[in-house]
Symmetry: C2
Subunit: 250 residues, 2 copies
């Protein structure tokens, strides 16, 4: 397969490199990724500035295109300019989980969503850890999954959001197909005063309040690998039906 | 009602001001908006930098909080720090339509989505124009709609994405409840060379390829006001069901 690899932690991130190593043995892997970290950028695209592209090397391991934009920009410019069509786009491995409401803020996921908009199947891959990250098992799991996917009853384009616990393989409980958690985070703003006497605020997301066991949030908490199929149609069809017969005057 | 007004064109944008004028007659309106334009930022939040807040005035018309962040940041910091709970959040009036795939890149929509995550109903409002914008009718329509909404069979929280054609009132064909268009844009990258001999790219979204008459894209093209209910659960439930019985080994 021809696979496009991208991420939102930047082209030199450990997680992308681990994925490259495990996929390049059996596939043609092209890397187009942000030149630097672009976390919590949501599904942003760069319209007000031009994009720059540099070819960079990570030692002897790989070379790739470093783009001065967001993960979604990377997928678009790969598709239209740098690479052309591929069989699969993989975004990751992100440092930190992308589950629940955080899926909406995730650059990692937006790259995968962008791929499906352009008609290419995609995986977003995240490791549920912010310290002592070990990408080995997650990278191995994804390379195995890529071989298996062809046997799944999948449509021509699909987007799977995959989160892997940061645990040794023998402690991982298995794989769960999940839905995205929708409950808000426990969060707050920390108010501080700078040395010049001016107030500023830090935004702090603290913990998930999710309880639904069918969600990605709980699956990861319980030590399962979580796989959530995502779409890019935000329509609330149930509410659309409820409102169907309303007469709106003005 | 207590209404929080925000946008992604910045606190001094014409569209926000028009909406303020039409709502402030009957409601308590608080403005918390980005200090400058934040278009195509998607559902971004600011985690790596602190947020600054300034109180600014627009002549004698209103004062508001100008935030050094994204539309989603504005809603969060309004909710947790600056304003507290409100009855309704309105984001807009955006300069330019937010329909089809562009809904995913829209800061205007992400502010409304963020409100619903926090449990507050919200409207995202956009004017389908990039020149000769006339916000008068759209602002009037929204102030009428706000009075009518209480009679609709709506849940406690909801998010409506509203697009208004840039036409005189008598040329507008009516209101359509629509779904979000999902087809990709016709788009391209324009490759240029800077005066120093370096290549750069401009991203250009050119036109919609949508044909489904039940979508927001087509409703606006035909001269209707489009109202699309949105949700913030990206799960593809139909694919989730298809995959339900898959055994995943590794």
């Amino acid at each position: 397969m021809k696979i496009l690899l991208t991420n939102d932690d930047g082209i030199f991130a450990e997680g992308l490199c681990a994925l490259y190593r495990s996929l390049a043995l059996d596939h043609e892997v092209v890397v187009v990724a942000p030149e630097a970290e672009r976390s919590a950028v949501g599904h942003a695209i760069t319209l007000s500035d031009p994009l720059r592209v540099k070819i960079v090397r990570r030692g002897k391991e790989f070379w790739g295109y470093a783009v001065s934009g967001t993960p979604a920009d990377c997928v678009k410019i790969a598709f239209y300019e740098l690479v052309g069509p591929v069989d699969l786009v993989i975004s990751g491995i992100n440092r930190g989980a992308n589950v629940g409401i955080n899926v909406l803020y995730s650059g990692t996921v937006s790259a995968a969503t962008e791929a499906t908009i352009l008609g290419t199947p995609a995986l977003a891959v995240s490791l549920a850890a912010y310290q002592n990250e070990d990408y080995c098992f997650a990278a191995y799991f994804i390379s195995t999954l890529v071989e298996e996917l062809i046997h799944w009853p999948l449509p021509k384009t699909f987007c799977l959001n995959i989160n892997v616990p940061n645990l040794p393989a023998h402690l991982i409980k298995g794989v769960k197909l999940t839905r995205q958690g929708t409950r808000k985070l426990k969060e707050r703003f920390e108010k501080r005063v700078d040395p010049h006497g001016n107030i500023y605020y830090w935004q702090c997301g603290e913990e998930f309040l999710e309880e639904d066991p069918s969600t990605d949030v709980i699956a990861i908490k319980q030590g399962f690998i979580s796989i959530t199929p995502l779409n890019h149609d935000l329509t609330d069809f149930s509410l659309l039906q409820t409102l169907a017969n309303i007469q709106i005057s003005y």
